[in-house]
């Protein structure tokens, strides 16, 4: 198809042709086009259907404020819904599709919603779909969701990479129109580190869309020359296609750079987008202004655009939206559109100026004091109806209408810290208020200074003020300095039809009237009741009209009515951009244990424990089911010897003359009395008296201890100890360092544990030399430094041996090789869990943050002879009750019966209701020694119920099993094995 609506001029490269499709139809455009400008140049005005009423829509703007022209871009994993055609840079091979229509854009069956519009006014859903309650989720919502909506999301994975980056500067300039360029030039020439960011792919802002001159050249040429100079300055970073999305605390700004959105596929090694965090000493908001329409009946037809957008399409992109054009304005800027289009040879049929005054254009019919009251044309504008000053109506055939209701400064980012914009009647718009983000200055049109001269001047002055520059500043080139002349007109009071305010969310003047009628008159209520401004464009074109209509209805002034404020992001940001590289397996780094490579070689199954990957079990040939492997590991360990990597446990070296006293304060039990060369089990409470963590701590020297923590709490325990040391007892002589990753540590457990270790440890570790709960520094394999602890989690004769991490892999292989005669096995976390439950040791399921030492049967460990964290509050009434939960062991009466963790204790014959609940199972395993499922659980007054029979009920699993309550020490209760 030819580019029927292409006109002369513009900043497009006509020497090159780009091919693209929209809804499968082939079109052509040029480099420099947006999808919207190229479609308009091809005579396509209909680009979408509206959200709720499925009204035919075309673009109303030429920028990021666009509410209507939302399309689905690309296909497959790169398919992207709700892309604004007005900012989509055209590339060769671009594929776009319209959305929210079925079966086609021209004939949309859901257009029936438009005929039923009475039913879809604001608040309709709230009032209508209330009963019966269950119908909402099952019936109403799915139907409504299907009928009202935007684009669809691909189910395929996005193949592109998204990066994050950090930048620092003295001055961040947001927006590269005349204001921003002048600010950047002023600061850049002064040698300051400047970042100039603009969402557009061509810097210059409005200068590219206007015809007036700056200095001796056109505005666009002046912008290009200024950009060229800035590009030569090494201290200035120009960032095109970069939207500053928000002002955060302390001079931190977020920005999204669309590195590859203008390409079919990102270049090799390049990300699709980058999320920048910019640390700016100062910032200047030079974001310009956004034109607003005037609401009148049927003002949403394709072909009705903002006047400034019509001008931009003609001047910058050489595209006209129609053959016969009219302009409807309440201000001088609208007249510019008529002038520019006339100069481009477009037939300007009429200027409808709502004001009595206003300049006249020779050769153009000028209707003063007139208003557009209606329009016609099903899929695009065919005519407008004008009510003249004398009250007579007239229909004028046009296929394009430019509407200007004045310009709103883009205050958005200035209000990200809750600064409320204030109304300036001189320009009939809101300007930035007080208490904006510290260090952020506003200049140019964003501050309400609309002329080009004012933009250049305030841009320069803002840079000087922000950076306290002294000395020569750039001269201001000669340019237009027209005053802002606007007579407010928000909506045309005529007729009973709908006049759109927020085109993206289909909010009309009627909806605002309804909100008023139902007393939702505050702007915040208005917004939520009607959804005004809650669409993806955040009401950039509609909000002010909505609140002006409300002001009119309530008889209050606009300042009295007030305004809502904006939140980040300035324009929508893809979730993938926020995620960056942190997705899938790369969401967090994996921590690998020293035995990981050995385990991988032997086909181990791994389990994620926090960031760690731990060996869960190591299957042997012929084992088809996990229980076979785990049972074998348990039996082999208890029969001979097993090795388990326990490096993930937190390890903290604690040194200093007050180390013992410090441990007495942070542990519920006492450590200052521990002999050098011995270990002790330690119980750590939170200040509220609940158990925080547990582990063994060894005294390696008079002033030197080694603490272990659970894997899960390694970080939080260390943080807590630092809190105690620095904030509570700042003069204690005690130093901490985390050595979790410094030592590879293995548990060696089983009757042959000592015999195996004797093969690698250089010293005497006989029972006499290294008794139960002994600890000390040793060497292995002929001199390598190591730590040995005779501690047991499995109930077996067991040790934990630690060597510097880099030797962990070698030590494991050495132990397996030298101890081969004992048939050692490596066991994983499952076998570890079986053995600890057989012994009644608490772990994750019991250390649940809601349990006391008393609950765990460890009440006697809490010493009341010394002050320690949690000691006092652990004595609170409700936590010491005789009837409270106690840790018990559980086994089914029928050894074949299954138990499930999470099941609840019930007395025999009791109904399974909360009032009869006796507690719950915290951990459950199959014990190969007892030949049945066993479990630990918290049972009310459980210590008095040992030997009794109860039921375990799990209504979700359909389980109701008779069990025997037993001691939690289910295996070798006398502990003969571990002292062996």
């Amino acid at each position: 198809m030819t580019q029927s609506h292409r006109i002369a001029g513009g900043q497009i490269d006509r020497t090159k042709t780009l091919r693209f499709t929209f809804d499968g139809v082939r079109y052509q455009g040029h480099p420099g086009d947006t999808l919207a400008s190229a479609l308009l140049a091809n005579g396509v005005r209909l680009m979408g259907r509206s959200f709720k009423y499925h009204r035919p829509r075309g673009p109303i703007s030429a920028g990021s404020e666009e509410p209507n022209a939302l399309v689905e871009l690309r296909t497959g994993g790169r398919q992207e819904p709700n892309t604004r055609a007005t900012v989509t840079e055209l590339y060769d091979g671009l594929e776009a599709n319209s959305q929210n229509r079925w079966p086609s854009l021209r004939f949309d069956a859901m257009g029936i919603n438009d005929k039923l519009s009475t039913f879809f006014a604001a608040g309709f859903y709230y009032k209508t779909f209330m009963w019966p309650k269950s119908f909402w989720e099952k019936l109403y919502e799915p139907i409504i969701r299907r009928a009202a909506g935007l684009g669809s999301v691909t189910r395929e994975e996005d193949p592109d990479a998204y990066d994050k980056g950090f930048l620092h500067c003295d001055l961040l300039v947001i927006g590269a129109g005349p204001t921003g360029l002048m600010a950047a030039l002023t600061a850049g020439r002064a040698g300051k580190r400047v970042i100039l960011a603009d969402e557009d792919f061509r810097l210059g802002g409005r200068l590219n869309a206007e015809t007036f001159s700056v200095g001796q050249t056109s505005g666009a040429d002046w912008a290009a020359a200024t950009v060229a100079e800035l590009a030569t300055l090494p201290n200035v970073r120009l960032m095109t296609r970069t939207t500053v999305i928000g002002a955060f605390d302390h001079g931190i700004y977020g920005a999204v750079e669309r590195v590859s959105d203008h390409l079919a596929v990102p270049a090799q090694g390049k990300p699709r987008q980058v999320l920048w965090r910019i640390y700016a000493g100062k910032a200047i908001l030079a974001a310009g202004a956004t034109e607003r329409p005037v609401a009148f009946e049927n003002n949403d037809r394709p072909g009705i655009l903002l006047a400034g957008a019509l001008r931009a399409y003609a001047n910058r992109w050489g595209a006209k939206a129609g053959e016969r054009l009219a302009v409807f304005t309440n201000n001088d800027d609208g007249i510019r559109t008529a002038l520019d289009l006339q100069a481009k040879g477009v037939d300007v049929v009429a200027v409808i100026d709502s004001r009595e005054g206003g300049d006249l254009i020779p050769g153009v019919r000028h209707l003063r004091g007139a208003e557009v009251i209606d329009s016609s044309g099903k899929l695009g504008l065919k005519s407008i109806t004008v009510r003249q000053a004398n009250g007579r109506s007239e229909t004028i055939a046009v296929d394009a209408l430019g509407v200007s209701g004045g310009w709103n400064p883009n205050v958005n980012i200035h209000s990200h810290h809750r600064s409320r914009p204030i109304y300036d009647p001189a320009i009939a718009a809101f300007v930035p208020g007080q208490d904006g983000p510290p260090g952020l200055l506003v200049a140019g049109a964003a501050a309400g200074a609309f002329s080009t001269h004012a933009a250049l001047r305030t841009g320069r002055d803002a840079a000087i003020a922000a950076l306290e520059l002294i000395g020569a500043a750039p001269d201001l080139p000669e340019t237009e300095d027209a005053p802002t002349r606007v007579t407010p007109l928000w909506h045309v009071a005529h007729g009973k039809g709908r006049a759109w305010i927020d085109q993206q969310n289909d909010v009309t003047v009627k909806d605002v009237k309804l909100a008023h009628q139902e007393n939702f008159t505050s702007v915040e209520h208005l917004k939520r009741y009607t959804t005004l401004g809650m669409a993806t464009d955040q009401g950039k074109t509609g909000n002010v009209i909505g609140l002006a209509v409300m002001a009119e209805l309530t008889g209050r002034s606009i300042p009295e009515t007030g305004t809502t404020i904006y939140r980040p992001p300035y324009t929508p940001v893809a979730l993938g951009t926020l995620a960056g590289r942190s997705r899938g397996k790369k969401f967090k780094p994996f921590r690998l244990t020293p035995s990981h490579h050995w385990a991988k070689e032997h086909g181990a199954i791994f389990v994620e424990v926090g960031n760690w990957l731990r060996t869960q079990w190591v299957p042997k040939a012929g084992e088809t089911e996990w229980r076979q492997s785990v049972d074998r590991e348990v039996l082999a360990t208890r029969k001979s010897v097993g090795i388990c990597d326990v490096t993930t446990l937190g390890k903290i070296d604690i040194q200093g003359t007050d180390a013992g006293a410090f441990l007495d304060r942070v542990y519920a039990n006492t450590f200052s009395s521990l002999a050098v060369g011995k270990c002790r089990y330690g119980l750590m409470l939170r200040e509220d008296g609940m158990v925080f963590d547990d582990g063994t701590t060894a005294r390696m020297g008079t002033n030197e201890y080694v603490m272990t923590t659970t894997t899960a709490n390694a970080v939080t325990v260390f943080r807590h100890l630092e809190f105690c040391r620095q904030c509570l007892w700042p003069d204690m002589d005690v130093q901490l360092i985390s050595t979790t990753e410094a030592w590879a540590q293995f548990s060696v457990a089983g009757p042959n544990a000592r015999k195996l270790l004797e093969k690698v440890v250089d010293q005497d570790i006989s029972d006499a030399a290294f008794p139960y709960m002994g600890a000390g520094n040793v060497t292995v394999c002929g001199g390598l430094r190591a730590r040995l602890f005779r501690i047991s989690f499995s109930g077996e004769l067991a040790y934990e041996i630690a060597v510097p991490t880099r030797y962990g892999d070698a030590l494991l292989r050495e132990m397996l090789a030298k101890g081969a005669e004992f048939d050692p096995i490596v066991y994983g976390t499952e076998a570890l869990g079986v053995m600890r439950i057989e012994k009644g040791h608490v772990a994750g399921g019991e250390l649940n943050g809601q349990s006391t030492a008393l609950n765990m049967g460890l009440g006697k460990m809490v010493s009341k002879k010394k002050d320690a964290i949690g000691m006092v509050l652990s004595q609170r009434e409700g936590m010491t009750a005789e009837t409270g939960y106690r840790l018990v062991g559980v086994k089914p009466v029928d050894p074949q019966a299954k138990l499930t963790a999470g099941s609840h204790f019930l007395e025999k014959g009791a109904a399974p209701v909360a009032a009869n609940d006796g507690g719950w199972l915290t951990s459950k395993v199959y014990s190969p020694h007892l030949g049945c499922d066993i479990a630990l659980g918290y049972l009310k007054a459980g210590d008095k119920k040992i030997g009794q029979r109860m039921r375990i009920v799990n209504l979700l699993a359909g389980l109701d099993t008779e069990v025997e309550i037993i001691s939690p020490h289910m295996f070798d209760p006398e502990g003969e094995r571990l002292r062996g």
Binding site: H250, H417, R719, P730, V872
Partner: protein, 94 residues
């Protein structure tokens, strides 16, 4: 946010872990104070809209606990001290 660490200079708040009200420094002595005093210490906090002294931990840094004076409305930070110095100034020792 940026926290001006007394030793390390300006650092991004992402490097820190937040704990809460700096009154957590004022822990009663467990051998003399009773349950009531500990209850108040642990649970009774003011929640000011305005200036607030709070504990931040430089976990991704030098492990200092800091007392940061921050306005909870504007997020303006007016003072940053080492918690150890604050604790000593309050008479805490061993």
């Amino acid at each position: 946010m940026i926290i001006h660490h007394p030793i390390l200079g300006p650092r991004d708040a992402q490097e820190f872990v937040y704990l809460g009200d700096a009154s957590l420094i004022d822990r009663p002595d467990g051998m003399t104070a009773g349950i009531e005093a500990f209850h108040d210490y642990l649970y009774q906090r003011s929640n000011p809209a305005g200036e607030h002294r709070e504990l931040w931990y430089h976990e991704q840094g030098d492990r200092s606990w800091l007392v940061v004076t921050r306005n909870t409305v504007t997020h303006e930070i007016t003072k940053v001290e080492l918690a150890r110095d604050v604790a000593r100034a309050k008479g805490r020792s061993k």
